[in-house]
């Protein structure tokens, strides 16, 4: 749209208008001589506008101003209607996003062995798995070779169904070959004619392979180097960057759907933090069933675990309709959803964000100390200076220890400790130290250092000196929520947060100030603790006199 320039006269007129509309009260009052007095109330129209923007996220429509024509204030029924509006639901989503930052964007779900890259020949694009190890497994040589732009049917197939790989030469490592391509309709494509040309090895549709007498799944991390395994039927075991983004977006919406249920007054607000209810859709189930297990230990660990809902039989990537599911311990409301546990990937980070959001407390950099504490050592709860925060933080972090760090998998099915490296390694599908190093840490016995145990990371300091660690770990996030509820701090902090969200300023907590709002906080938070209804809290705050005043 071409923006028309305005002549000087029009610009001048606009300037005068703009200055006039900003420098004086929003409605003139000739009887007051145009003076700007402190603490005037908004007119009913401007009050309606403010309420609409704060509660529904938009200004009122022209016809809606009739609701306050002739009135001296906005009727309570209008406030009720605004809180029942769908715009209020979206506003509460925005409030909780500002509070909990639930955006897992950027979490890497792709691994090299289950990724798809491509090369161009003329205008034709050919897809392949870019992992060097995988390419070496498929084609030999130094792992730099891809397929040739020839249909595989031309080269033929082996009796076992694997593609014939045409010898092409010898590189510095050894002989190598190239297979051809096949055409595959990928799972993420809705247009049935939009097939991709995929190197035949990478397009292998095998879902399992045999290792000795054991049959293993091709979409597991261990199958990454298996020659018989490619991307599976319709490439369902492989991810592209764009498909990864779809999973991030779905996790974010999953989080917000649960928020919706606890901000509309139909359920107690505090249950948002403890409920076993959640939502899922075909896309997330597809990821859980086919894609999550292939991530290595250096990636986000999102495999289904004990406490998660059962994996769907035949999930459809294109099914984005949401259904309600029920999870089990250690799940606890939004605090164990992937959008939260992947946004805050350490137990300390999860605990800190909860503490800020639902108790209103922040860790402050302490003054250094050099005496009465341990100057060295790994125990941060006793170390000089560190202990001033970590003596509080470490027990809080233990509440969140039941969810994998840098992941979303519940660890309820993981042993809390092993007595040997071999036993720890053996906990994986195939004995390997990667699993043990990812989830466990060697802890030496304080009395006999030769005695070592491999403990879950969250339980490293679960000992006689730190009895709260194991207790909090077992309680899970629901435990920290219960403490915050019982003490009332959850309700006080939420009242303060909502007050700030609606009044755009902090409550005046100065006990000596003439306009102190301490008593108001106690009054409103006590009411909130009694009814546990966020909508009622919102209505209570927007009906305060200070909400309607203008500067």
């Amino acid at each position: 749209m071409k923006i028309l320039r305005l002549p000087i006269a029009v610009a001048a007129a606009l300037l005068l208008w703009t200055a006039a509309s900003s420098a004086a009260p929003d409605d003139s009052s000739s009887e007051e001589g145009g003076q700007c007095l402190l603490h005037r109330e908004l007119t009913p129209e401007r009050h309606l506008r403010r309420l609409s923007m704060d509660l529904r996220g938009r200004v009122p429509a022209y016809e809606e101003y009739a609701l306050v024509e002739g009135e001296t204030s906005v009727p309570e029924a209008v406030v009720d209607a605004f809180v029942a509006d769908d715009g209020y639901r979206l506003t509460m989503r925005r409030y909780h996003e500002l509070l909990l930052w639930p955006n897992p964007y950027g979490v890497t779900l792709i691994t090299q062995n289950f990724n798809l890259s491509n090369f161009l020949v003329g205008s034709d694009r050919y897809y392949f798995i870019p992992s060097t190890t995988k390419k070496r497994t498929f084609r030999g040589g130094d792992g730099s070779h891809t397929c040739q732009p020839v249909h595989q049917d031309t080269l033929g197939w082996n009796a076992d169904g694997t593609p014939v790989c045409e010898p092409k030469g010898t590189d510095a490592t050894g002989p190598w070959c190239e297979e051809g391509y096949v055409e595959v309709l990928p799972y993420w494509q809705t247009d049935p004619t939009a097939k991709l040309r995929v190197c035949a090895f990478g397009a292998q549709a095998a879902e399992t392979y045999d290792k000795g007498s054991t049959t293993l799944a091709c979409n597991q991390r261990l199958a990454g180097n298996e020659k018989a395994c490619g991307c599976g039927p319709n490439l369902r075991f492989c991810l592209q960057y764009s498909t990864q983004q779809n999973v991030w977006a779905a996790w974010r919406e999953q989080f917000l759907l649960l928020v919706d249920d606890y901000t509309n007054g139909s359920r107690p607000y505090s249950e948002m933090l403890t409920t076993k209810r959640a939502y899922t859709n075909g896309r997330l189930e597809f990821h859980r069933k086919y894609l999550a297990a292939q991530a290595g230990y250096s990636r986000a660990y999102t495999q289904p675990g004990q406490g998660d809902q059962p994996v769907a039989e035949n999930p459809d990537w294109h099914d984005i309709s949401w259904t309600e599911i029920t999870r089990e311990e250690p799940h606890s409301g939004v605090l164990t959803l992937p959008a939260y546990s992947l946004r805050f990937q350490t137990n300390r980070g999860r605990a800190n964000r909860f503490r800020i959001a639902f108790t209103g407390q922040y860790f402050q950099p302490p003054n250094p100390e050099i005496s009465g504490c341990e100057s060295e050592g790994d125990d941060l709860t006793t170390r000089c200076t560190c202990r001033k925060c970590h003596a509080v933080l470490e027990p809080l972090a233990a509440y969140f220890g039941g969810i994998a760090e840098a992941g979303s998998t519940p660890l309820a099915g993981f042993a809390k400790e092993f007595t040997s490296q071999a036993a720890c390694n053996a906990a994986d599908l195939e004995p390997n130290s990667g699993f043990c190093n990812r989830f466990y840490k060697i802890v030496r016995d304080p009395i006999d250092p030769d005695i070592r145990r491999w403990k879950l990371l969250a339980l490293e300091w679960a000992d006689a000196s730190h009895p709260e660690v194991i207790a909090n770990y077992d309680a899970g996030p629901a435990g920290i929520v219960a403490e915050a509820k019982d003490s009332g701090i959850l309700y006080r902090a939420t009242t303060m947060n909502m007050f700030k969200f609606l009044l755009k300023r902090d409550m005046n907590m100065s006990p000596t100030a003439a306009d102190s709002e301490l008593d108001l906080l106690e009054e409103i938070s006590a009411e909130f603790q009694n009814h546990d209804d966020l909508g009622q809290l919102v209505k209570r705050i927007v009906q305060l006199p200070q909400y309607r005043r203008m500067p």
Partner: protein, 236 residues
């Protein structure tokens, strides 16, 4: 142009200190030395500075969040002649999408930006000028194609065929300030008077061959721009 932006910014910021330039019952001049005794007791009658009782601080003043702005533009702008709501466009894209201006104007992504800075910065003011022109041009274009004045957004109570009366102009101005700003004003309100000057200036551009549209329509489009640029629209 820079002067206009700077002045508009200052005008916007001035709402944050709305009373700063207004007279209260402050003394007209400070007490002279002869009125103050050596022991600092002030014997001069300088009047009571404030006649207000101590009340809790009011709600702070900020510009509306980007999400609210995005939802509010179609409410005041209405729909175009084909049916969809009028929004701020950048080419064929929504201008407030994150990949256009939404993130630039401060919409948080909760990764790198976790809160929205709601100060009316000069960057925001500049983009709102662009928004006002884009949206008001769309409204005007659609209104020209409507068959009934009652269906229009900008000149619902004022014909644009050259027969408009001063009373109709005032009524339409009152309608527009209520629609865009939520201000129900009387005909003799100083704001209506100033807004009428905006209308007249815009109407005059057609006589000067600037816009090529009918004068009255151009006047209303100019009023629309003024309203969408006004701090009263953006301040919540």
């Amino acid at each position: 142009m820079r002067a206009v932006i700077a002045t508009t910014l200052l005008a916007g910021l001035s709402v944050l200190a709305a009373c700063a330039t207004e007279t209260t019952s402050a003394p007209s001049s400070p007490p002279s030395d002869s009125q103050v005794k050596a022991d600092r007791e002030n014997v001069g009658d300088i009047g009571d500075v404030s006649t207000q009782t101590a009340l809790s601080a009011t709600r702070a003043v900020q510009r509306m969040p980007i999400a609210v702005l995005e939802a509010s533009i179609p409410v005041v702008a209405g729909s175009d002649i084909k049916g969809p709501s009028i929004t701020w466009k950048e080419g064929n894209n929504e201008a407030l999408a994150d990949n256009i201006y939404g993130a630039v104007l401060g919409r948080p992504d909760f990764i790198t930006v976790t809160e929205e800075n709601s100060a009316p910065s000069s960057l925001y003011v500049k983009f709102m000028r662009d928004m006002a022109r884009n949206v008001c041009s769309q409204i005007s274009t659609s209104d020209h194609q409507r068959s009934s004045y009652s269906e229009t957004t900008l000149w619902r109570f004022a014909p644009i065929d050259g027969s408009v009366t001063p009373e109709q102009i005032n009524e339409n101005l009152r309608y527009l300030t209520l629609r865009f700003l939520g201000m129900r004003l009387t005909t003799d309100d100083p704001y209506i008077e100033k807004l009428r000057a905006v209308f007249e200036a815009g109407r005059e551009t057609s006589n000067q061959g600037w816009a090529g549209l009918h004068g009255d329509a151009e006047g209303w489009r100019t009023v629309c721009i003024g309203l969408l640029e006004s701090p009263a629209f953006h301040i919540d």
